[in-house]
Point group: C2
Chain length 235, copies 2
DNA sequence: TAGATTGTTAATCGATTAACAATC
DNA sequence: TAGATTGTTAATCGATTAACAATC
């Protein structure tokens, strides 16, 4: 089941799978559907059945999962709990990752109060803001610190990632500061596109882009409707 | 400049460009960079220069823009204002699209108060919720209506899209209700994956998936670091 | 005109799907 | 054993990049 050829090299130099981002971006979706299957009490699932639920090809599912090893069994399919556990591993659900949220504005507060992090094994250990009225307060069950205390906070805490929900024009300078303190990843909602090559990992979120994609399709739909109407009862 | 071959068919059957989603998903990013260029007062830009800023190939830029017509000029490049106007058109920035927000929770409020919609020409005309304490209140400058008043609201208003920020378990039933009322598109944050084929357009947003993609990379990075440490000073 | 840069075709690359042998 | 379904290779499809002729 485990590959043998790759391990011929020095000691056991781990085989970096080097899986394409396209595949990795699909993993969270498998994660979601597997949770659902578990909730339903389903014990096993075939790529065929899963493909129907998820609206993708069975081929793709098998191909995707095989990038990480043989999680299934011929003639049987996939054990739901086992597969779920494997995907959780890949996505670090039990890795005990810690996060801080920079910016206790509307979005920062919404994210803090959501169950999103908890469900994915990420622990929000603090929020930071410059607003004197917020500092010392608790949002959800997370304490808001002053941005001035960032450095001292890092002396006593390990922080894997920072969620950036602060104003766009401060994004770059604060991110640099966090980088200096050893943050490994940024979940960046500021709209300012950040990129630190090998120094840190950045996931830039552009909600506005998603909105505009929808806009595009709605416009095309409206155009088509106008055309139809014009064709049916105009001049 | 305008294509001639496609227009040989009946009357002028509009040429549906049928551009790939991959290209369309990139348009909002051009939109953002062009805004920046305008802010900087730049009048013209070549695909080469833009490609450096955006970190994509010049080839891709020219290919993308050409899906919608010849927006540039040989030997000169692209007129920033003209190109911006064209992309705004495609993305419906001046189409006067209207939206309502279903669910006045943390996320709904955060979206309402943001400038995201305004910047993209989408008008939020109402919010809806079931919470008696919120109904009648104003968030940003948007009034919160009762979910019971949904049908009557539609009698006097045109609604292009609904932003779904309500609890997951109510997503499907309320979306169906909105569909019935003539909503054309859904910006869906509920986590419940919706799909209405030709009846409506759905943009499912899964912030958690984005977080997990980041998790994946951070885990790989941590693994790599542990390996390095182990190699340098262990046993 | 010469220089620059697009529009567009052709070549390459990568991702998805199909097919089937391996195997439970 | 026969049936089912994976793991995996090969074929197809689509998207990206390179190249260059058109043209401003």
């Amino acid at each position: 089941m485990m590959d043998s050829e790759h391990n011929l090299n020095t000691e056991n130099e781990i085989e970096r799978p080097q899986v394409s981002p396209a595949v990795i971006r699909r993993l969270p979706r498998y994660f979601r559907y597997l949770r659902e299957l578990i909730r339903e009490g389903k014990m096993r699932i075939s790529s065929g059945e899963l493909s129907e639920r998820m609206n993708v090809t069975a081929s793709q599912i098998r191909q995707d999962l095989n990038c990480f090893g043989g999680f299934g069994q011929q003639g049987y399919g996939y054990n739901v709990n086992y597969l779920y556990a494997k995907i959780c591993d890949l996505l670090g659900v039990s890795a005990g990752l810690s996060a801080i949220i920079i910016g206790a504005g509307d979005l920062g507060r919404a994210l803090t109060r959501s169950t999103m992090f908890e469900k994915r094994g990420v622990d929000i250990i603090a929020m930071f803001d410059v607003d004197e009225n917020l500092i010392g307060k608790t949002i959800g069950d997370v304490l808001v610190y002053s941005m001035n205390d960032l450095e001292s906070f890092f002396e006593t805490h390990t922080v894997d990632m920072a969620v950036l929900t602060l104003p766009k024009d401060q994004a770059a300078v604060e991110a640099e500061r966090l980088l200096e303190l050893g943050v490994k990843g940024f979940w960046n909602f500021t709209g300012k596109e950040l990129s630190y090559a090998s120094r840190a990992i950045v996931e830039n979120v552009h909600l506005g882009d998603s909105l505009m994609f929808l806009n595009y399709d709605i416009c095309r739909l409206k155009e088509a409707e106008e055309k139809t109407e014009a064709g049916s009862d105009r001049v």
